[in-house]
Symmetry: C2
């Protein structure tokens, strides 16, 4: 139970043949109320998949009742036919759950760009009745049906005093700001309105998914949806709810990082002493996107020079000859010059902590990334398919 941990929700996941492996690849999450409130954030990539175009317009017209998600094809750059597939999918779900407006159904897709032909459409639309028939408030399949190259399911549940948050996520590559290649559905039985949900969701994603930058690549299909049923009857304090939601999103972001394609290190780049959070993020992201740094970590090489070279490409306020850099607690660079011997630093554990102190201000941010490995190249070249 993940998205059905809160009261007022049913979900399902079934196999319809989109994945060549025969594993579940179509999922549905339905809010049964009594309240229907929602919020969503979408990829900031200007090249947007058909389900993003549909869902963005749909939620602007009113709260979402359900989310239908498929793996095995992104339905992105598939023309008008692809858009019609998204619309037909929403219409089929609306019909099955007794919803008058198809626009109350959000659609998410993930997989290869350019995939969205007649066979793709038929596998989804013709199987919506079977999907709806499988809906249950005790579901354990939806979280697996949205996976692509992920090796494990990503879920999180937060239980508060009388109300609950449940969540499921997918994402294993193309993880970068403006979200990641990821689909997330979060449910709650707390009684909150759209405005409160939207504020809490934007804050939570900005501090979690937006600071995950596995490979610098931004997806065309990202969507994070939050549905509230009000079924608990409890209206929590907005700040308390926001804090719980942030914890759920942070847990999912850590799970996404840990399962990033081909990675052998989870790298947390903590930037301190910045004049603003924005500059701390800019510095952390420039290091996270530096292929030479990422390859060095793969080789267990604490190459602090590549960290400084990456910082130098930013517009952040700092003096290169004031900066400290530590790897896993060992300060290798002090005031822009060599400090402790690199031999003192052990990078063999998967968790890697890089601390950068700019000594320019009081702000801090941590960017999560991964190393650049042979396996990453392998999985993302044609040899993997």
């Amino acid at each position: 139970m993940t998205v059905t941990a809160p009261r007022g929700f049913r979900s399902a996941g079934i196999a319809v043949g989109l994945k060549s492996t025969g594993k579940p690849d179509l999922a549905l999450v339905v809010n049964d109320g009594p309240v229907r409130a929602s919020a969503a954030v979408f990829t900031s990539n200007r090249a947007q998949a058909n389900p993003i175009i549909w869902s963005r317009t749909a939620i602007a017209g009113g709260p979402a009742r359900a989310v239908v998600l498929n793996s095995g094809g992104a339905n992105c750059f598939t023309g008008d036919f692809g858009y019609d597939t998204t619309r037909l999918t929403a219409e089929a779900v609306a019909h099955e759950i007794g919803e008058h407006e198809a626009e109350r159904i959000l659609v998410c897709s993930t997989g290869l760009i350019g995939t969205g032909d007649q066979a793709f459409r038929d596998k989804i639309v013709k199987n919506v009745p079977a999907l709806a028939a499988a809906l249950t408030d005790d579901d354990a399949t939806a979280a697996s049906a949205i996976l692509t190259t992920d090796s494990v399911e990503k879920t999180a549940v937060h239980r508060a005093d009388g109300w609950t948050i449940g969540a499921m996520a997918k994402g294993a590559g193309m993880l970068a700001p403006g979200l990641a290649t990821m689909l997330v559905v979060i449910t709650t039985d707390a009684r909150l309105d759209d405005g409160a949900l939207d504020r809490a969701l934007r804050d939570a994603t900005a501090a979690s998914f937006d600071r995950l930058d596995s490979d610098g690549c931004m997806s065309t299909n990202d969507q994070v949806t939050l549905l509230a049923s009000g079924a608990s009857g409890v209206s929590p304090d907005e700040a308390e709810f926001a804090s719980a939601l942030a914890a759920v999103c942070d847990s999912l972001a850590a799970q996404l990082q840990a399962d990033a394609e081909g990675s052998s290190h989870d790298i947390d780049i903590e930037v301190r002493g910045a004049v603003s959070v924005a500059e701390a993020i800019e510095v952390g992201r420039s290091v996270a996107r530096n292929n030479l740094f990422k390859a060095a970590i793969f080789g267990n090489d604490p190459n602090w020079g590549r960290v400084l070279a990456a910082i130098g490409t930013t517009r952040a306020t700092f003096d290169p000859y004031e900066v400290d850099v530590a790897f896993n607690g060992v300060r290798l660079c002090h005031a822009g010059a060599p400090d402790r011997p690199v031999e003192e630093c052990d990078l063999t554990p998967r968790r890697t902590h890089v601390e950068i102190d700019l000594f320019s201000g009081d702000h801090t941010a941590t960017i999560r990334t991964n190393d650049l490995t042979h396996e990453y190249v392998h999985e993302n070249s044609a040899y993997s398919s």
Copy 2:
């Protein structure tokens, strides 16, 4: 003969033990006049090596007489001791060639950041007399002494009516805008003043090295220096000289691309139909820096969806559903939807041509990059050392 192809120059390259291989690692290029004019461009990385700090100030005070270059250590983030090493090197060269001002000697270094201890200093400074003694107008060693992980020497010579341009370059990784990890020395016996040289050099580097983006990583040590001796007695038309210099820089940029660390493809990303050259460059660079695209090319996979996803991250003027994308002459995407079957496209040749038409304007730019390979990861992880 490369930098000594024009009259009025001598050069030398010797081995002083900076490279563990025992290969040449210290080079010197001297302008013997009768004229002394020069121009230089430097890395735009804000983290700058000691030789960059020295040379930038030195050339601002007057034209350069000579350039001394070492491989085997970047002398970057090596503190005041490292800066003194650069100054002592310039002073030693000035003494040997009878130059009163040490500031007339530019210094370039390349190699590992953080390398610049007493042993490093001694190997360079104590060997300057031997280096000066090896100077000749028929030198064939300087171009090899500046190499690091390069597999071949990069040189170019342009012979015009009565005057000549000669050039040598190094660079095999960390190739990105604001120049690359590269050192370039260009000589000419044309009679031109500092202003004309500076204008021609900035235009030529902007259209060549600045559009080479092998791995998105910007170096701390880049320097391109142009020295003019006037020894031909010919004052060429400024436009003619600029055109010849642009051709020399373009040749060197192509040679750098062809020798990029671990690469198996040279990828030219030609962006057409942009509203400005700046937007064409932005689009081309976003594709060139997309690791998923680069890994796909390594696998001979013409993954046009990753091209569109990368374009979508830019602020350029375009409609994703108007864009055409062709790989090696086969249009795989038309108006944002699949066109020819990917099977028609052969990516096995090393040279790869990606054409993107934004249909938004009349401007074009080509960005050169390389694929992301197992060998790139290997060479840049500790396993390679």
